[in-house]
Symmetry: C2
Subunit: 197 residues, 2 copies
């Protein structure tokens, strides 16, 4: 028995984004892959981009699960932050073109699917925020989380697009570690916060 049309369309959309990135978001091709009519897309989702938003929401859910699964000991919050950073970079690498497509397909603010995607992203952010808040003062944790996230995204994106560092993952990883350590050190100098929680 075939899967429901909506599930087939989501699978086809994910496969297409994974294969060719944002340019793989083509209605006719996705409908063909899902073995249904193009019109089914618009019966199943707000629009074609909304199908991508749901796929991206599942990527964010996987990222959150990945971050949640990172081991940590309560007394080593900095090591935990470094391990989360490494896991994020590895995740982005593993998702390949699907990860890059996220930044080429902005979430739609006015569809239910866009809101689901934004919500999934907020949950990832909350996971990172929780780790950062064990190191820096609570009222600064959101800003510091954004600083770290953006820095990691920049390194990841420049690696993936081959813009800097020749795309060598071990170079990116080493630079990422230094950036995260720098930000945490400045925002919360180590000796004053060893037993911070």
């Amino acid at each position: 028995m075939k899967e429901p049309i909506k599930a087939r369309l989501l699978k086809a959309t994910e496969a297409s984004l994974r294969e060719t990135g944002a340019s793989g978001l083509k209605a006719r091709q996705i409908a063909t892959e899902a073995d249904c009519a193009v019109g089914s897309i618009y019966k199943s989702f707000s629009n074609l981009e909304a199908a991508a938003d749901l796929v991206i929401a599942t990527v964010f859910e996987r990222l959150r699960a990945t971050l949640t699964a990172v081991d940590h000991t309560p007394n080593a919050p900095r090591d935990h932050a470094i391990a989360l950073s490494a896991a994020y970079l590895e995740f982005a690498r593993h998702e390949g073109k699907l990860w890059l497509a996220i930044f080429e397909l902005p979430a739609q603010a006015d569809t239910p699917e866009g809101l689901i995607r934004q919500d999934a992203l907020a949950h990832v952010f909350a996971e990172a925020h929780k780790a950062v808040a064990t190191i820096v003062p609570e009222d600064d944790a959101a800003d510091v989380t954004q600083m770290i996230w953006a820095s990691l995204h920049g390194l990841s994106h420049l690696e993936a697009t081959g813009t800097l560092a020749g795309g060598d993952p071990s170079v990116t990883d080493a630079l990422a570690r230094r950036v995260v350590e720098s930000i945490l050190e400045k925002e919360s100098p180590q000796k004053e916060t060893d037993d911070n929680r």
Copy 2:
């Protein structure tokens, strides 16, 4: 009198990338805008992507000129680095979709145009490196430049794609300043390097 075909094609390519980003790189449309046959593209450049590479090289040249024009006093290298960072973010914002297209259109390693683009990028990097090398030890300046560049790129890219911070430029600018200060502080603690050069 009309401009030479190659110049018209470059103008049309730039206009198209600026208007619609990487998805604007379409041979037929660019040829129509340039008022020539599609075949002229392939007589003027190695391929269609090569025309984009030349346009991107001119973007990098403008960025370098922008960075070179940033005021600085020799005794305030950190202020200079902060001012360069702010100029970079403002430049990326101003170039809009053309800037984003750079990261969706990787340079081609095997065409003369791709090499021209890579060379223009190397010149921008050298300009940033020069400023960083007045603050951190010479043999570490390349790594620190990459760390700062990537962090700024991440903030800029997340702002442009509306992924974090709601796309508010003043928030990005403030976070950028903190990231750059953190990296420079960690790599070269202020009191030891006040009269560094």
